[in-house]
């Protein structure tokens, strides 16, 4: 048998050029040598991995730069520019009536005279508006208002949507059924109508109650808008989170936690929410621009902040009147809205691609 085998094949020694090798090559390798070949790759957390991918996305990184610049501007500019958003330009304590509707980087007669007399003034970078207020600072404040409305509205939506969605998703069954029918009903309400109705009603109800508070400056319209966001816009978030939780709940690690005796609250907190965190962050990032849009839109219709507080939308609305003669007045707030919304959208997309590649179409 053995002989037969050796006959059948050509001897191994004839197949290779044995002179290439030395017997040292065939000594057993030590465990150490073996393990040198096997290096466990560097520990990467989920977050760092996502950030690495995000940094590779040029559009998202450009958006981050734009957003940081915008943020810095709206924080620092009011400290440097000596004009107030609701302050009509005065020269030497006298109201400057000629300072209305000036083009960017121009001076009114009084200001020119003041400069000629040796005084120095801060330039009107975007010119002035029809009542003689510095337009640049108004746009800056408008962006402040728009951004904070967007941010707070999104946070409001996030909190309500997350609580509602996670309860419905986790407990499922009848609870889920009832909660989701409520969501369906809310979905069917026309949101614009609700804003208009609420702002009328709230003006009556809140009229005096707000006086003296911070909210007074924003006006009852703004409060109405937050209420509407809080009442209506969370449904999308709630649905999304419920869906996420339904899939996460099916994972065996949730079953494992149950098996270990973990109570529901712990399972939601420790396992379910952290695992839909990426979706929550991404959706919130995409919710901000949509809230900014809604705010601008409502302000444009005259349902937003009350004068003299500006928002990007109400500025655009005011600019409408002199559109033929002063087109740049519409351009500045419009451009600001575009930049902010575009940057936030691109960043949101970038975040989604980086942290949750599955969500990509």
């Amino acid at each position: 048998m053995n002989d037969e085998k050796t006959l059948r094949r050509s001897p191994l020694s004839l197949q290779v050029d044995l002179s290439k090798f030395s017997s040292a090559d065939f000594e057993p390798a030590s465990e150490e040598e073996k393990s040198q070949q096997e290096v466990m790759s560097e520990s990467v957390t989920f977050f760092r991995d996502g950030m690495r991918r995000l940094r590779k996305n040029p559009l998202a990184m450009a958006s981050v730069v734009v957003l940081v610049l915008i943020l810095l501007t709206i924080i620092i500019a009011p400290m440097i520019v000596p004009y107030g958003y609701d302050e009509i330009i005065t020269v030497n304590g006298r109201r400057d009536k000629t300072a209305a509707n000036m083009a960017p980087f121009t001076w009114s007669q009084m200001e020119q005279q003041y400069i000629d007399d040796g005084g120095s003034l801060f330039p009107h970078i975007f010119g002035t508006d029809s009542t003689g207020r510095d337009y640049f600072i108004r746009v800056i404040y408008g962006a402040r208002v728009s951004l904070s409305v967007g941010l707070f509205a999104s946070i409001l939506v996030l909190i309500i949507g997350m609580l509602y969605g996670s309860i419905a998703g986790y407990f499922g069954g009848k609870v889920d059924l009832v909660m989701m029918r409520i969501v369906d009903i809310i979905y069917s309400l026309p949101d614009m109508l609700m804003v208009i109705l609420l702002s009328v009603v709230l003006k009556e109800v809140l009229g005096t109650a707000l006086q003296g508070t911070v909210l007074d400056k924003l006006g009852s319209n703004m409060v109405a808008m937050f209420v509407v966001f809080g009442l209506l816009y969370w449904v999308g978030m709630a649905r999304l989170i419920r869906g996420q939780i339904l899939t996460i709940k099916e994972n065996e690690y949730v079953l494992a936690a149950k098996c270990l005796g973990a109570p529901s609250s712990r399972i939601i907190r420790q396992h379910v929410l952290p695992n839909c965190l990426s979706v929550i962050i991404i959706t919130t990032a995409l919710q901000i621009p949509s809230a900014i849009f809604t705010e601008s839109y409502l302000s444009f219709l005259g349902l937003g902040v009350s004068a003299p507080m500006p928002s990007l939308g109400s500025l655009a609305n005011e600019a409408r009147q002199g559109l033929q003669s002063y087109p740049y007045k519409l351009m500045f707030p419009a451009l600001a809205i575009c930049l902010i919304v575009l940057a936030l959208n691109l960043l949101g997309d970038g975040l989604r691609d980086a942290f949750d590649p599955k969500l990509k179409r």
């Binding site: 085998k5 059948r8 094949r9 050509s10 001897p11 191994l12 020694s13 197949q15 290779v16 044995l18 090798f21 017997s23 040292a24 090559d25 065939f26 000594e27 057993p28 390798a29 040598e33 073996k34 393990s35 070949q37 096997e38 290096v39 790759s41 690495r52 991918r53």
Partner: protein
């Protein structure tokens, strides 16, 4: 008969890479094999061994980030890696078909079985609608689907997993290809259904005479049905030979370890002898033999040089430095 004509499919030094976020992955690293008409070839390996990628490279159905970087795939002597997209569309289905692991997702849920079968038939043969319909029923009968005339009107979700896999086979064979590639055809199925499908594939092979490539991780599946078995590890071929060669005279340390580690009827009351270590990380491959980090008999040369393939039996070849060591000892005598 010339060398080229003898084989229906020849794969020569195939290299396939995937570009991933963490770097380039060499999934298939110089695989070669020949397939004669009407033979059954088994490719065995664990996940990450490159066995499925080899099959996909032949069909040119790699994921977007994958690319055949070098090597030839000769179909009846013609290099199909140089074919146009249009030629490849003709190749798939008509010359070479593939069935996948998961019969649940490889059928379109919104069309009936009949629709999908007819479409596959008409795409390649130019038969009329009526002829295609008849052929569809005939194919279903061939793969052992009961009441085929009724089944053509059903949707995939109405069939069980085993039935769906039969439909997939019918679809793959509808245009009488020369080669059938079965990528883990029974992994998603139960043992009793697995037995049915394997039996069916052998039976169809006898009837229709096509060549079959079975890709699997389960040594048991291919023990009794393959003419040749290729064992892959880390994108390379470790060993190739007949079933008897591989199972009774394994000549690669990986194959030996694998055979030792599986429970059989014979070693029930003994402790299993597992292969140590963790599976290869394709991003971080050893310089030498891919298996060296897990091999009990690893030698210094294994860590630095890739072993070349040696003939150890009539149809039996293996790439393991242990064989060269043996040759050294032979020569010393």
């Amino acid at each position: 008969m010339s060398e080229e004509k003898k084989y229906v499919l020849q794969v020569k030094d195939l290299h396939t890479t995937f570009v991933t976020d963490s770097g380039e992955v060499q999934a298939v690293n110089g695989v070669s094999f020949n397939l004669e008409p009407g033979k059954i070839l088994g490719i065995v390996g664990e996940s990450g061994s490159g066995k499925s990628v080899t099959a996909y490279s032949i069909m040119q159905i790699l994921a977007e980030n994958g690319r055949v970087t070098s090597g030839e795939v000769l179909y009846n002597g013609e290099d199909i890696t140089k074919w146009s997209k249009k030629q490849m569309t003709g190749f798939r289905g008509k010359c070479c078909s593939i069935i996948f692991q998961d019969p649940m997702t490889s059928l379109n849920p919104v069309f009936t079985i009949g629709n999908q079968l007819e479409e596959a038939i008409r795409l390649h043969t130019g038969k009329s609608k009526k002829e295609a319909k008849e052929r569809a029923v005939e194919m279903l009968k061939l793969v052992g689907v009961n009441e085929p005339a009724k089944r053509v009107k059903q949707y995939p979700f109405e069939l069980s997993g085993g039935m769906r896999q039969r439909v997939m086979i019918a679809m793959a064979l509808a245009c009488e290809p020369d080669i059938l590639i079965a990528d883990e055809p029974t992994t998603a199925l139960d043992v009793t259904i697995q037995a049915q499908i394997l039996e069916l594939m052998q039976e169809l092979q006898h009837k229709l005479g096509m060549a079959i490539i079975i890709v699997t991780h389960d040594l048991g599946v291919i023990a009794d049905m393959c003419d040749e078995i290729i064992v892959m590890y880390g994108g390379r071929v470790c060993e190739r030979g007949t079933a008897d060669d591989i199972f009774y005279e394994p000549a690669h340390e990986y194959t030996k370890g694998l055979l030792r580690s599986i429970p059989t009827a014979g070693n029930t009351h003994e402790r299993l002898q597992p292969i140590g270590g963790t599976p290869i990380n394709l991003l971080n491959m050893p310089e030498g033999c891919a298996f060296c980090t897990r091999c009990d008999n690893a030698m210094k040369i294994c860590l630095t040089q890739v072993p070349e393939e040696l003939q150890v039996g009539e149809h039996h070849r293996a790439s393991c430095w242990m064989n060269v060591k043996q040759a050294m000892e032979e020569a010393a005598k």
